[in-house]
């Protein structure tokens, strides 16, 4: 049955919805809160902030992470900053402008009311973080400093050097640690979520595996929060941390939660290129480099001369040529695709021809080395550490890489999935960024969900349903789910083939990057739909995992995650195939304007595609049509 989904957005004017909704949500009496238990999976920005806040309110919280400490979550790697509509700069910023920038940046594929609420609570996040001791950058007068970021005409980004994600995560981690110290949060580290316990369409707990001794057990609770991040690692090479995976979200999907817009993935144009087959991950270089660097490739194919020996006339500054008004500062998706185009044309530079030059020679001769050093010193240092080349004398080489996924589990206005009691926060849900995320918005969303939205909506849910975990049915279902997970582990260990988990992951990544990466077309996607199941078959017949399931076994952990990626990849390809339009991070080559720009199809695709697991059959697609009552759908142009 295909259904039309409802985001259950409250009625009323856009500006009043959240206030009104908060007033209408039922409350749990303070003395009753301790009778409810909540499981939070993942301890990044969303998970830590939610777990800490729910514990402060009095709920019994269990927080789970597969890392050795909550502080390791990949939120820590965000560099640039966090947006908030504070208007401290008096430059005309407002909740409305932040809302509008975000919804437009997302190419009009996000839910209006959610995005507006995000902008509304953005200011509270800054206040909360300052109170926690997050050392945001300050002006000499002692007040908070701001910088500007892509996709906005105002200065609204708060930052802590180049380590904003780290500092925000440590703030949330410390709030969480306080609750652990007070005995209000039961913190479980080195535990990986393997499954969700769902009875009659309601989530009652999770199955977890201890990564040190391999023990698999179930935990039950009145509500489950998945704060498990994105799935960029389906591409194997991405800027995500090595352990990031889709397992938690995918398991929830297999238990009935809908997966929304999985094909919306974001490619960042300025990453350090791959240097060899052994490459294990990609490193992002801040987008700000494009303010002074000029991007070029040789005009001739296969020109292997050193960059400094290629005369000006034989260089193609392709972004300046194609987009004269935005030039090197054209948006992420456009700059990324242009780089791919020239490399596909055989004009890429560096090992394997997968790179373009980002040249600072002009800027250095114009401004002097000192100025460039002040602006980008730390980035140049990082580049040199990784590549061994000195970017002051040799142009940097950059190439696009996957770094964020806008798609995720479908949630309603309360951030609850279609499975009752299963909430999804942060990058793991699909809700706020549409088809493309603006810089400095991921941190904002994670913390908004955890600090300021979930504490209200989980309360509303629990107040209206009451406790109900201690039933025979839940116990049976939990035992069954444990057994199911144990069987999966046993199966992985029993294959005893020849290939390593990494080799499968790498091969899957290549299929996805080539066929479902920066640019996609019908033919490529169709062939991916053939190749992925073949690879999956081989995986289940030719995988080798040494050791046992009763010890720290990193190959086994990896294999279990790759197994889910191999299934999930197919879902992603299906979604990309069905969306016959180009929007944001999803670029279908068949749908472009004459000069190669993305062509959105608002008539047919202004909806969220939410996929339902359907056993061995093709998944079913449900739609949530997006209604834009407050903004007008416009075309993005950067010529």
């Amino acid at each position: 049955m295909i259904m039309e989904l409802s985001g259950r957005t409250p009625l009323g004017s856009l500006t009043d919805k959240w206030e009104k909704h908060k007033n209408e949500l039922k409350l749990v009496n303070p003395s009753n809160k301790r009778k409810f238990s909540v499981i939070v999976v993942g301890t990044g920005l969303a998970g830590s902030s939610a777990a800490a806040t729910l514990a402060e309110l009095g709920y019994n919280v269990t927080a789970i992470t597969y890392n050795d400490s909550p502080r390791r979550a990949h939120s820590i790697a965000a560099q640039g900053g966090i947006n908030a509509a504070k208007n401290y700069q008096n430059d005309g910023d407002s909740v409305w402008r932040l809302f509008y920038d975000t919804i437009k940046g997302g190419d009009f594929r996000a839910r209006e009311a959610n995005v507006y609420r995000l902008a509304q609570v953005s200011g509270n996040i800054i206040d909360q973080c300052v109170a926690q001791g997050v050392p945001f950058a300050r002006e000499y007068g002692g007040y908070l400093a701001n910088r500007s970021f892509g996709g906005a005409q105002v200065s609204r980004t708060f930052y802590a050097r180049g380590q904003t994600g780290q500092q925000l995560l440590l703030g949330a981690y410390q709030a969480l640690s306080r609750q652990v110290g007070l005995g209000k949060v039961n913190l479980l580290t080195k535990k990986e979520m393997m499954d969700v316990v769902v009875v009659d369409g309601r989530a009652h707990g999770v199955v977890i595996r201890d990564l040190v001794d391999g023990k698999i057990e179930s935990l039950t609770a009145d509500a489950v929060l998945l704060c498990t991040g994105g799935y960029s690692n389906v591409f194997y090479l991405s800027t995500n941390a090595k352990a990031c995976n889709v397992t938690a979200a995918y398991r929830a999907y297999k238990r009935g939660a809908l997966f929304a817009n999985p094909c919306f993935t974001q490619i960042h144009p300025t990453c350090i290129p791959v240097s060899g087959d052994y490459q294990s991950k990609l490193t992002l270089m801040s987008e700000s480099l494009r303010n002074d660097g000029r991007i070029w490739v040789p005009k001739e194919r296969g020109d292997t001369r050193l960059p400094n020996l290629i005369p000006e006339i034989e260089r193609d500054y392709y972004l300046e040529r194609k987009y004269p008004s935005f030039g090197n500062l054209s948006p992420r998706d456009i700059a990324s695709r242009a780089a791919k185009e020239v490399c596909d044309d055989g004009r890429g530079v560096g090992p394997g021809g997968k790179g373009v030059y980002l040249d600072f020679a002009d800027a250095i001769s114009r401004l002097g080395r000192k100025v460039i050093e002040d602006r980008y010193g730390n980035l140049f240092e990082m580049y040199q550490r990784i590549t061994g080349e000195d970017p002051y004398s040799v142009p940097m080489r950059i190439y696009p890489a996957v770094h964020y996924t806008m798609g995720g589990l479908w949630v309603d206005y309360n951030l609850m999935s279609n499975v009752n009691g299963l909430f999804v926060l942060g990058e793991a849900n699909f809700s706020d960024h549409g088809a493309n995320r603006l810089g400095a918005s991921a941190l904002m969303q994670g913390l908004a969900d955890g600090y300021f939205i979930i504490p209200y909506t989980v309360g509303g849910y629990l107040a209206s349903t009451g406790p109900g975990t201690h039933t025979e049915a839940v116990r049976n279902k939990a035992a069954e789910a444990v057994q199911h997970s144990e069987e999966k582990i046993t199966r992985l260990l029993a294959i005893n083939g020849k290939r390593t988990p990494t080799s499968f992951h790498r091969e899957l990544g290549k299929i996805m990057w080539d066929k479902c990466g920066m640019a996609r077309n019908e033919q490529g996607l169709q062939s991916a739909l053939v190749e992925i199941p073949q690879l999956r078959d081989e995986f289940w017949n030719n995988l080798r995992v040494p050791g046992t399931g009763e010890e720290l076994n990193q190959s086994l952990e990896h294999a279990s995650r790759v197994a889910d990626f191999l299934e999930f990849a197919e879902l992603m390809v299906r979604d990309a195939l069905h969306r016959k339009e180009s929007c944001g991070g999803h670029f279908r080559e068949e749908f472009q304007t004459e000069d190669g720009e993305a062509k959105r199809n608002d008539n047919d695709f202004t909806y969220v595609a939410a996929w339902e697991y359907n056993g061995n059959n093709a998944p079913l697609m449900h739609k949530e049509h997006l209604h834009f009552e407050n903004v007008e759908l416009a075309t993005r142009s950067y010529k």
Binding site: A52, E56, N67, D68, S69, P70, R71, R72, A73, H74, I76, A77, N124, I126, D127, Q128, V130, A131, G133, P135, F136, A137, R138, E139, Y140, G142, Y143, L144, A160, R161, Q167, L170, Y173, Q174, S177, G181, L187, T189, V212, A241, K242, S275, G276, Y278, Q279, S280, K281, T283, L284, R385, G388, F452, T500, T502, R544, P546, E551, L552, Q554, S555
Partner: protein, 246 residues
């Protein structure tokens, strides 16, 4: 280049471990140190041997998950560099490299190069925070913070909790870690209300976890991938004695 590695292999906590030699051929200088270990592990896996367990996650020097002692130095020979950011161009063909886990009683070995650093979390749980519930906060600009204080707080707060300070310290002391957290929170006006209790409880927690005492060798400062200054330790010393005696 070709390398000979001597790697600490230990099956499980408490088991007897030993250094085992492995030859790795055709290492590219562009590989990171961890990628070089990946190559070794892939080969071990293909031969049906147990790969070397080591921890890593972000591989860009910020999560603090990775860490191993390379030829006697935590995170290897390069200053202010985590092992994931260390590249093989820092080594030469024919080098012999000894790789050991962090050694400290408070960081028991879990397997091979993996150690249990949860002691750090427990120190933070005893006071490494500011007690402010969500929703309590006044406006972010309500309390101006002098830029020098904000910068000092940021210097201390850049700690990634990797444990290199403990690994480098001949006494396995956790003073730099503890002092950095206290230094961060005490540089800001927001952290002042709980100053006394924080420093007292965190120092006692640190001792309870079985870390050694600081005897000012300052190896920690040299090993810290974020270059956190030992001056934070000096500050902690004074604050602890003053607040606990008054």
């Amino acid at each position: 280049m070709n390398l000979r590695l001597h790697i600490w292999r230990q099956k499980e906590p408490g088991a007897q471990g030993m250094l085992k030699a492995y030859d790795v051929a055709d290492v590219s200088e562009h590989m990171s140190f961890l990628e070089m270990l990946d190559v070794l592990n892939e080969r071990l896996l293909e031969n049906g041997e147990d790969p070397v367990a080591f921890e890593h996650d972000c591989r860009e020097g910020i999560c603090g998950t990775c860490g191993m002692v390379i030829n006697g130095r935590p995170h290897g020979p390069e200053p202010k560099t985590t092992v994931c950011q260390l590249h093989m161009r820092s080594f030469h063909d024919g080098d012999s490299i000894t790789i050991e886990p962090w050694r400290a009683s408070a960081f028991p070995v879990v397997k091979d190069l993996v150690v249990d650093r949860s002691a750090f979390d427990r120190i933070v749980q005893k006071g490494g925070y500011i007690s402010v519930n969500t929703g309590n906060a006044p406006d972010g600009n309500a309390i101006p913070v002098p830029k020098v204080n904000a910068d000092l707080a940021m210097d201390a707060a850049s700690c990634i909790g990797c444990g290199a300070c403990v690994a480098a310290c001949p006494n396995a002391s956790a003073m730099l870690f503890t002092a950095a957290k206290i230094g961060h929170l005490h540089a800001l006006p927001q952290g002042h209300a709980e100053k006394g209790a924080r420093v007292y409880n965190m120092v006692l927690a640190m001792d309870d976890e079985g870390f050694g005492a600081c005897t000012n060798h300052l190896e920690c400062e040299a090993a810290c991938p974020k270059g956190i200054s030992s001056l934070f330790i000096a500050k902690l010393n004074t604050e602890f004695v003053i607040t606990s005696l008054l």
